[in-house]
Symmetry: C2
Subunit: 350 residues, 2 copies
């Protein structure tokens, strides 16, 4: 094989045998060298690495996975990668995973159970070693599928009573409290909350956290100022419009997510209301775009990097040294306030 001056002729892709032949060792030695086995003598290892380089050889991961039983692939399921919340999450997860020698398989569920089922199937076929389900409330359909296969799984805000399953808890309370305190310090007392859809577990949590934060700040929550929106731009616009119909109006607004806040910004702009002079607005998530709105959005940051790190850590632990204790399978990700330009003192009339 190693004949004829090892130039890049139109030969076949080199395999472990090609390397072994060129380095004049057995394929076992090549394998050991690649996998960093300490028993290989330096001399042979050097020859092997040289051959590998010269042949431009890459080990075939399929063969590797097949024989070792480990694919070193982790799956990530998000609701939709075009939702601005997810790209950064995916990116961080991938970086961490790759740095730790894992490959990542990404899929969007598009909030469609059949799509979800299908992408879990694909992941199972590729023999992923663990799956991070970052869909925030559409988990049910995959649970059985995954659990049946005894694969480690980590869920955001969802508890699964299975020793292979971990949970990531999001601590919205701290960020929401910081937001309310920030507003209170500016002089606001009339604070409204544009909630998310009540079918979402996380939306309800956020709303409750808001109530608690108000109480902590000795502020009164007006029932009519808590409005259920739907986490979209249009929802935010509608929420704002509804608030405008009220006799008594708030001077500040905390929104259950950034898109809602951006909707408020737009609706206010169209009504010639100035933010923050006439109305202060706070978002939640800190999507990349929050910094580019007019004015830049003050928001409660939910760090996607932290979330990704927690998800990866949860999975790795389960893969490498399964934790029996339920507590050990729980991870907490916190939130924090990012003050930008959409909050200020309340208007004079208030």
């Amino acid at each position: 094989m190693a004949r004829k001056g090892t130039r890049t002729t139109a030969t076949k892709t080199p395999d472990i045998r090609t390397v072994a032949a060129m380095a004049k060792v057995s394929i076992a030695t090549v394998s050991r060298t690649i996998n960093g086995s300490p028993v290989v003598s330096e001399k042979l290892a050097k020859r092997v690495w040289q051959a590998i380089e010269q042949l431009n050889y890459y080990p075939n991961t399929h063969a590797r996975s097949l024989v070792s039983g480990r694919s070193r692939i982790l799956g990530v399921i998000v609701e939709n990668i075009t939702n601005p919340f997810f790209p950064e999450l995916v990116q961080s997860f991938e970086e961490i995973a790759v740095a730790n020698g894992y490959e990542v398989m990404i899929s969007s569920s598009n909030s469609d159970p059949s799509v979800l089922t299908n992408c879990v199937r694909r992941m199972l076929e590729r023999k992923v070693e663990g799956v991070a389900v970052m869909t925030f409330g559409e988990e049910e359909p995959v649970l059985d599928q995954l659990a049946n296969h005894d694969i480690p799984i980590v869920l955001a805000e969802f508890h699964l009573d299975d020793p292979k399953a971990s949970t990531i808890l999001l601590d919205y309370a701290s960020g929401i409290r910081a937001a309310v305190e920030h507003l209170a310090k500016l002089g606001h007392t009339r604070i409204a909350f544009l909630a998310g859809p009540h079918k979402l577990h996380s939306a309800i949590t956020r709303e409750n956290d808001f109530r608690n934060a108000m109480e902590s700040a000795s502020l009164t929550v007006q029932k009519q100022w808590i409005i259920e929106c739907d986490h979209t731009l249009k929802g935010g616009m509608a929420g704002f419009a509804h608030l405008q119909t009220l006799e008594a109006r708030p001077t500040a607004l905390v929104c259950s997510n950034d898109m809602t806040a951006i909707g408020v910004l737009r609706a206010a702009y169209m009504k010639d209301m100035r933010v923050p002079q006439d109305l202060s607005v706070v978002g939640l998530d800190d999507i990349d775009f929050a910094e580019f709105t007019l004015p830049p959005l003050t928001t409660i940051r939910l760090s996607r990097t932290d979330l990704a790190r927690a998800a990866f850590e949860a999975l790795r632990q389960q893969v490498e040294q399964p934790k029996q204790s339920k507590l050990e399978r729980e991870f907490l990700v916190s939130t924090s306030l990012v003050v930008r330009g959409s909050t200020g003192k309340p208007p004079a009339w208030a």
Copy 2:
């Protein structure tokens, strides 16, 4: 890894033998059934599918790839998935690929050659059947790597003289011409262009297309109104600021990308200039956020769906029936104008 006859306890994940045993057929029949071979009798096929379902069996793609020599994985390299241009591209590509029985491996180069090299290596190890390099101008480092491995590759706006390489050409001209005509029709004659960094091939193309469009519209291009920015928000703000220092000012602005336009929007807002009353602004890309700016951005849409479709098609053709002709390896993606709220009549003073 001792072989223990054909055990079939519920503990281990079922393999093709398990299915064969349960369906009382040979593993070849199971394989044929799964792969839709027409020779299998209905009766046996039914038994096989039943066993598959009952066992919750998923074929192991690693074994499949190994023996068939086909991984059915396509690689996509983007510059950075958190760049708003890419998520939709990735999403579309994945949808199309999955619908056609391919899996997708996504990687970000982060504009770092060593990261890029590393992710190509990982793709090669996973034996991808083709790679779409959507980095728009950072291709060089991967070219040799990929070309040496004789793998189909498709590049955006980059020609590679290799029978395995296809190119996607982006027709900015049509969209830019539409934008200039739209502006001209509104009454603008004083139109500036905030260009991208000249090191980017595509930025220069866009600038030239703008000049041509102006000429076609019988409008004069003022040299001082063509400003090299850097495709970022800050760059757009700086470009706007520079324009303000000029004696003669434009009434409308075409930007080389959306982020630049958004920077202009912000800078104008801070200077209390109203868009579009005082200044009309046009972007390019139509990132998801363009529709959420204040005012919503009129922009030249570069369809990521079309781009994804072209990239997949190029790859598939090369994988399934390689095209020799250079022309057949070229794909064109066009652009179009999306009129929103950031363009209007020129101000009275003009």
